[in-house]
């Protein structure tokens, strides 16, 4: 059973991970996620501070991701897999995976992997954007699901992703992924990969 820690109540709450983003998740994004993120970006824009550094500082570097359009355009395409994490009656996290990418890691070169294309948490869970974030660990749950999906697909836990600057420490320290450096074809974001050995160690340490 999946559970998230509610920092407000200091209690664990049962969560539900759906293996498809549904209409109600898109609706949650449009009606409840976007307004506070757009407001912060507009505030930064008006102050002449809408840079990646400032957006990262306020935890809204992903606020321009068009989840509704991507959900619509990618529906029925087998290369994409989407997930929605719900808890407390609302969507707390969203995830898009790609299933046809291959590894760049020298030890895993051209082997199949799961690529984490987009992963986001609801704005009310974001440190810095809000003074008292509600649920913790959304990104960890979703990226761990990517590793589990990789195992289910026979890809032995191999996962790759480009990290926004604010999430780099999560992938380095929590997931212990290998950083293969900045990718000039992807806005110079750092590219990370997880090997089967790292995946096994991580899942073993979390009791999965």
């Amino acid at each position: 059973m999946l559970a998230l820690f509610n920092r407000h109540t200091q209690q664990m709450e049962t969560a539900d991970l759906l293996d498809r983003i549904e209409a109600e998740d898109v609706s949650s994004f449009e009606q409840r996620w976007l307004p506070p993120m757009q407001a912060k970006r507009e505030e930064l824009r008006q102050a002449g501070k809408l840079t990646l550094e400032e957006a990262t500082r306020w935890n809204v570097a992903d606020a321009h991701w068009e989840w509704p359009a991507k959900v619509r355009n990618r529906a029925g395409q087998l290369q994409w897999a989407s997930y929605a994490l719900r808890c407390g009656g609302d969507t707390q996290g969203l995830l898009f995976l790609n299933m046809v990418y291959k590894c760049r890691h020298p030890e895993q070169l051209k082997k199949h992997m799961v690529y984490v294309d987009l992963v986001s948490t609801a704005p009310w869970n974001r440190p810095r954007l809000v003074p008292n974030p509600m649920y913790g660990g959304i990104g960890t749950v979703l990226v761990t699901e990517a590793i589990i999906r990789s195992l289910d697909e026979g890809f032995e836990g191999r996962v790759g992703l480009h990290s926004l600057p604010g999430a780099e420490s999560l992938y380095r320290q929590k997931f212990k992924m290998d950083c293969l450096g900045p990718d000039s074809a992807y806005g110079n974001l750092l590219y990370f990969e997880m090997t089967p050995q790292q995946a096994a160690a991580l899942l073993s340490s979390t009791g999965l």
Partner: protein
């Protein structure tokens, strides 16, 4: 997690087709089912992009490009 239902398909392959599937399965360290699932994903991905009017090219080491009329 809420997981989508899966369905079973019985597949009839020739000896050569089965040899190719065995070989790919072994080379890629994937089950035969995983190879076929991956093949279906790629087939659909290419098909969608060709329907949009995009072209698929292979580039040789000498940088010569050849359009692949895959589907």
């Amino acid at each position: 997690m809420n997981t989508a239902a899966k369905k079973t398909l019985t597949l009839v392959l020739s000896d050569v087709e089965m040899e190719v599937l065995d070989s790919l399965s072994s080379e890629k360290s994937l089950s035969k089912t995983a190879v076929l699932r991956q093949a279906l994903r790629l087939y659909q991905t290419v098909d969608i992009r060709q329907h949009r009017g995009e072209k698929l090219f292979f580039e040789s080491e000498s940088k010569e490009k050849a359009e692949l009329m895959l589907l």
